[in-house]
């Protein structure tokens, strides 16, 4: 009865799948010799360029492990692909928590992505550490979500820095904004308005685009017709590169502000088309990390360390990619928190350490920057400097400014 055989096989399959995946109950991710953490980043899809935040962190952990780890524990950092889709983030995070039994979720990327998993992780008392996004909500909503903590300066704070700078230096200039139509772009705009204060009315044109668009050519054309003297690019690297090209192609010469997420020097160099595109010159952004491509830091011990670690533990990766350095910075902070979580860390003790940081020696951050958190302040990084692109590199100016929401 061959058909019955087929049927029996089918039943076995249905029966067997969960058994086939069967494993043993494990402690939540920590042993005397290891600690298992996990996160999600887009390894494929439109945002896959951001995956270096995980690669850089991974390289740093390997370096730390080679030196004995933290309190004799080696850090096992696993990152899964969520394709930048929030429901995939949920799925993969559940895999990490329920199947791989990670101790904590670390360095997951994306605003909507982390928002999607936040209720789940907070209900399960799993630390959601140092989310790789500038969404203000991750620091602001600490009372509702005590297991979540942000890292980089928020987008609102960043926008406010641009706003107050424009208010001080060009109070009469008309402003046009290209922004991504989600909370990332929206927060930057909100911050800009806050920083502009009474000059908010100088914003004459704001045009959004969707991350799923193929190009922003028509948006730039529309912004150009506003004849504004300042253009804010609150967009991801792909669209920033395009924007510079279209602005140049249309003969428009505004002063350009580009948000930190897209200000990596490799992106700026690409946008300048080997120097042919002059619109890049004079662009302004903020910075809180040491740029490995900046000659100013060429001999800096942190950058040298960065290069050494990348060469040894991240062969084949692009050293010019600044997101790798970001990854190392956040990994450094994680190690710091872990050290302060005690000889036998628990999730609660790690969380406590992460919310009571007083880190002044993070080599990857700008000098005199510190990573500070308290139980009422879940914004680890709240300082930055303004920088200007000149002759192929970023030059910071002004002092270290407060970047608070």
């Amino acid at each position: 009865m061959p058909r019955v055989l087929l049927i029996a096989t089918a039943a076995l399959l249905v029966l067997g799948i969960p058994v086939a995946f069967g494993g043993t109950q494990a402690d939540p991710g920590i042993t005397p010799t290891s600690i298992h953490i996990g996160g999600t980043v887009p390894l494929s899809g439109s945002a896959q360029a951001f995956q270096s935040v995980a690669k850089g962190a991974d390289a740093y952990f390997k370096y730390v492990n080679a030196r004995g780890g933290v309190n004799k524990r080696k850090i096992n950092y696993e990152y899964l692909d969520d394709q930048y889709i929030p429901s995939e983030t949920v799925r993969q995070t559940r895999v990490l928590v329920e199947d791989k039994d990670v101790f904590a979720i670390f360095n997951s990327l994306g605003t909507e992505q982390n928002e999607a998993t936040r209720p789940y992780l907070n209900t399960k008392d799993v630390p959601q550490l140092f989310v790789a996004t500038g969404g203000t909500t991750f620091g602001r909503d600490r009372q509702q979500y005590p297991w979540t903590i942000a890292y980089q300066p928020t987008y609102i704070a960043e926008g406010a820095m641009y706003g107050s700078y424009i208010r001080r230096t060009q109070p009469k200039a008309k402003i046009a904004i290209l922004y991504q139509d989600d909370s990332y772009g929206g927060d930057l705009v909100k911050g800009l308005e806050r920083g502009l204060g009474p000059r908010k009315s100088n914003i004459v044109s704001r045009v959004s685009y969707s991350a799923t668009d193929d190009n922003v050519q028509s948006q730039i054309a529309r912004l150009r017709s506003s004849k504004a003297g300042i253009l804010m690019l609150f967009a991801t690297p792909k669209f920033v590169i395009q924007a510079y090209q279209y602005v140049n192609g249309l003969g428009w010469k505004p002063k350009i502000f580009v948000n930190a997420v897209s200000s990596a020097s490799n992106v700026m160099v690409l946008s300048s088309s080997q120097g042919k595109n002059k619109r890049v010159e004079g662009s302004i952004s903020i910075v809180f990390l040491k740029d490995p491509n900046d000659p100013k830091w060429a001999k800096d011990p942190a950058v040298l360390l960065y290069r050494k670690i990348m060469k040894k533990y991240a062969r084949g990766s692009n050293i010019k990619d600044v997101y790798n350095l970001y990854g190392m910075s956040v990994a450094f902070t994680f190690v710091d928190a872990l050290k302060h979580a005690g000889k036998s860390p628990t999730r609660a003790s790690l969380m406590r350490a992460a919310t009571h940081l007083n880190e002044r020696n993070n080599p990857f951050l700008l000098p005199r920057m510190s990573v500070r958190t308290t139980s009422t302040d879940h914004y680890p990084l709240d300082q930055a400097r303004l920088q200007r692109w000149h002759n192929g590199r970023w030059i910071s100016f002004g002092g270290l400014l407060k970047a608070r929401s």
């Binding site: 360029a49 045009v207 193929d214 690297p237 395009q242 428009w252 088309s273 990619d321």
Partner: protein
């Protein structure tokens, strides 16, 4: 008014890319009866090959024709080895095959070249400035793209209408059996169709990389959608329809999204649904497309 013209000009430039890809889809459909869902990924793959050539020192304008040649050869190889096995079979089999190709080529592009941000071409092949015609800025790159597209389309037309080879190609698509009877090697004609389509795709890919930087493995996904819309709009069998369809979609999409500020329908994310809606309306009114042949089935 200048705003309107500006958007039309920009739309014509992006539309010519859609038209080129759509033309490739139509040529393949006319010859082998298959809708090639992998057309976009083929374009991406060949564009990455071009990048590799330039990265190894070849000048852009030398790499351009060489890439077309490689794409042409690749298309022929694809048809002769894999595609011919599903020709003449059930539609669904061909659909699944091209879907498989779509996934395979996408994976290969990612695997071989990875996801780094790279701009291509690194040296702007077209001058970066623009002409200003009464407030309307026409970028020289857009003009260049449009010009090359026109040249290619004319060249193809000449090939199909004025040469013996073109006659053989058309005959093979129209009536393979009769063509065989007069000695045309139909199999190779079909392969040639795929080769031409692949070359057209390569051009579309190269233009997309220039117009919508940076070069990344997913760049042709939206273009494929608009190209399919254009091909259907004009009727899957009509090359002229594909070109007009592509240009029309490029312009229309720009205009609709621009003038959305007046009608407040929040259309900035709706480019794809609008393209789909256009397809749907055309298909319902004229099921074989605006310029397609009305198929009358013999009872």
């Amino acid at each position: 008014m200048t705003e309107f013209l500006q958007q039309v000009v920009a739309g014509l430039a992006s539309g010519s890319i859609y038209a080129l890809l759509a033309l490739g889809i139509v040529i393949i459909y006319r010859s082998t009866g298959i809708v090639n869902f992998a057309q976009g990924e083929m374009a991406t793959f060949t564009t990455f090959i071009a990048w590799t050539l330039v990265d190894h020192g070849l000048g852009y304008w030398a790499a351009f024709p060489l890439t077309l040649l490689i794409a042409f050869a690749g298309g022929i190889a694809l048809e002769r080895t894999i595609v011919r096995r599903v020709e003449g079979g059930p539609v669904i089999t061909a659909v699944i095959l091209t879907i498989g190709l779509f996934i395979l080529l996408g994976g290969l592009s990612n695997w071989i070249w990875k996801a780094e941000v790279r701009s291509f071409p690194p040296d702007r092949p077209f001058p970066t400035s623009a002409w200003d015609l009464g407030g309307v800025a026409i970028s020289k790159q857009d003009a260049g793209i449009l010009a090359i597209t026109v040249v290619l389309v004319v060249a193809l037309w000449a090939l199909f209408q004025l040469t013996k080879l073109g006659l053989a190609l058309r005959a093979s698509a129209l009536n393979p059996t009769a063509s065989r009877l007069v000695g045309i090697r139909v199999g190779w004609m079909l392969a040639l169709g795929w080769g031409l389509a692949a070359a057209l795709g390569a051009v579309a890919g190269l233009f997309t990389a220039a117009a919508s930087p940076p070069l990344d493995p997913n760049m042709m996904r939206p273009v494929l959608i608009y190209a399919l819309a254009a091909a259907v709009l004009g009727g899957l069998e009509s090359p002229v329809g594909a070109i007009i369809g592509g240009l029309a979609i490029g312009v229309l999409l720009n205009l609709v999204v621009t003038y959305d500020t007046h009608i407040h329908l929040d259309l900035d994310r709706m480019r794809i649904p609008i393209a789909f809606l256009m397809i749907l309306i055309v298909l319902l009114v004229r099921p074989s497309g605006l310029l397609g042949r009305s198929v009358v089935r013999r009872v």
